[in-house]
């Protein structure tokens, strides 16, 4: 166990530094902070609403993540396969589990950093009014969980291909379906073709439903369990993909 954490940490450290070795980190962090702000102020009508909360800020996070998280996840394994370094990594005294945890942790921490850099909007709302900081904290946690779930799915898909573009498009599509699965459009279509239980099952998988629950300040266990299970399941699938397709 100690060994596992130690090795995962060493790999995470290397991966995290790798984001900053290229302009990727600067581009990503800038765009993330700018886009979350733009969505909150212009589309969400932060000022017009006249309310001291960050609902208009958090409402757009899942949509933004659709584009940005697959961009962070796509390189995790596809690049290793493409450059052949996966052969190096897997012949070091490191288990696949350690490598998977390390890579996921690095990417999640990177997104966490991006999220942390949005702190000025939190300061703004506290200067302007008297928001419920508990709700804001819960919303940050919810946003972070959604990002983690997208990321785990993206990491799994990245392990299936050596082509980063394919990894990006597939991850974005899968995440899009998971976000929209609770929406009327999807549900109506499903109810036409499938029994009610299927439509309900798909609806209960909706990221948006669980996320909105959390951002309303309702930190229910089942929402947290939902996201944590998605992450765990995707990472498990990731392990299988890495084990099966090393050579391809």
């Amino acid at each position: 166990m100690r060994d596992t954490l130690r090795n995962a940490y060493i790999i995470a450290k290397r991966e995290f530094a790798a984001y900053f070795a290229t302009p990727l980190a600067a581009v990503f962090l800038t765009i993330f902070v700018a886009a979350t702000g733009a969505f909150a102020f212009y589309i969400g009508g932060f000022f017009e609403r006249g309310q001291a909360n960050l609902d208009s800020f958090f409402a757009y996070h899942p949509w933004l993540y659709l584009l940005l998280v697959p961009a962070v996840a796509m390189r995790l394994w596809a690049e290793e396969r493409k450059s052949g370094t996966i052969e190096l990594l897997m012949t070091l005294p490191v288990s696949p589990t350690e490598a998977i945890l390390g890579k996921f942790a690095a990417a999640w921490a990177f997104i966490g950093l991006a999220l942390a850099l949005t702190f000025p909007i939190w300061i703004t709302v506290n200067v302007l009014g008297d928001p419920d900081n508990g709700v804001i904290l819960a919303s940050y946690l919810g946003s972070f969980l959604v990002a983690g779930a997208f990321l785990a799915i993206g990491a799994f898909i990245s392990a299936l291909t050596r082509n980063q573009v394919i990894a990006f498009i597939l991850s974005a599509t899968v995440c899009f379906l998971l976000v929209t699965s609770g929406m009327e459009l999807v549900q109506n279509t499903l109810r036409l073709w499938t029994p009610r239980i299927v439509a309900d099952a798909v609806s209960s998988m909706s990221f948006l439903t669980h996320y909105e629950e959390i951002t309303r300040g309702v930190l229910r266990l089942d929402s947290i369990v939902f996201f944590v299970s998605v992450i765990a399941f995707a990472l498990f699938a990731n392990a299988i993909a890495v084990g099966q397709r090393k050579s391809a």
Partner: protein, 316 residues
């Protein structure tokens, strides 16, 4: 002596193709095994199974007694591996990359520092330590891979084409390094440069279509060539028939073949029954028969001829 590397009946199929079809080998301390074969013969696949990267369909591989599939960490700790093409993280500098390897190999900060600087000086990377790996020349990239493989001074070293793409001086440097490490390690080197086998390997294994077709020292392999130790003579055309008859009658000679006719002379080749030179008896015979000879020499098979004979005949 227990072998440090042992492979037993390794098999791997990709789709309908049997890439590796029952390969067994054992390499002990002090041995440098040259792993030869045409492209696509299964060299890299075999090495990937021995290093534990690929899981074989059947068969086992052990490194220092640890099965690479059952006890991967124990096996990999004893292994230094240079994969084909010497992959490394291109956005890191050699210094940072080797520090990462040292850390993951379990060295504490001080020991890691010493290991990294030792590996850098052994691989001759001093000049490029702070340049990103992706900006380095092919030769330096290969040396980064080599430095990574020998960093922890492993008892087992497996290198897939370590000198591919290097200039003659760099090749010489890498071979010197292998020779220097050889007495303390079990080493497998895959290559298709045959001179390398004679230069550094104590033993050579040739594989073709996933099977071992030859295993022995370079000298053993040379003996397998039909012309090894053959005596070639050049006589006047008028004497050719008489010479051929006399040579054929010798106890040591298996057969005589006519190689070429040019400006009134004929070149004959006397193939020996055993792959040793029969120049002495042939010379004596020629004197006794008072046959005037323009030229006489003993043929030495070249390894690439043996290689071609073995791998082409298996294909026919």
């Amino acid at each position: 002596m227990t072998p440090l590397i042992e492979a037993k009946d390794l098999r791997k199929t990709f789709g309908a193709i049997a890439a590796v079809d029952g390969i067994s080998l054992a390499v002990g301390k002090g041995e440098v095994l040259g792993f030869l074969g045409p492209n696509g013969a299964g060299k890299s696949t075999t090495m990937k199974m021995i290093t534990g990267f690929l899981e074989p369909d059947s068969g086992t591989a052990t490194i220092c007694g640890a099965d690479v599939q059952d006890r991967p960490k124990a096996a990999k700790a004893k292994l230094g591996y240079l994969p084909e093409g010497a992959p490394a993280y291109g956005d890191m500098t050699p210094g940072a990359f080797l520090a990462f390897i040292a850390e993951i190999r379990g060295y504490d900060a001080r020991a890691a520092k010493a290991r990294v600087s030792a590996a850098i000086s052994r691989a001759g990377l001093g000049a490029v330590v702070d340049q990103r790996i992706e900006t380095l020349s092919k030769g330096f990239k290969r040396r980064v891979g080599l430095a990574q493989a020998i960093l922890h001074d492993p008892p087992v070293l497996i290198m897939d084409e370590p000198t591919d793409g290097l200039d003659p001086n760099q090749k010489h440097h890498v071979r010197e390094l292998i020779r220097e490490m050889a007495p303390h390690k079990a080493i497998i080197v895959s290559t298709h440069i045959l001179e390398e086998v004679e230069a550094v390997c104590t033993r050579a294994v040739i594989i073709n279509r996933g099977r071992i077709v030859a295993d022995g020292t370079a000298e053993d392999l040379l003996r397998r060539a039909r012309n090894h130790g053959a005596v070639s003579i050049k006589v006047r055309e008028a004497d050719a028939a008489r010479a051929a008859a006399a040579l054929s009658a010798m106890a040591e000679i298996a057969g005589v073949e006519t190689l070429e006719k040019a400006d009134g002379h004929v070149r004959l080749r006397a193939l020996p029954k055993t792959p040793v030179s029969s120049a002495g008896p042939v010379g004596e015979l020629l004197r006794r028969e008072s046959l005037p000879v323009e030229e006489i020499y003993v043929e030495h098979a070249r390894l690439d001829e043996v290689f071609r004979e073995i791998t082409m005949s298996a294909q026919a």
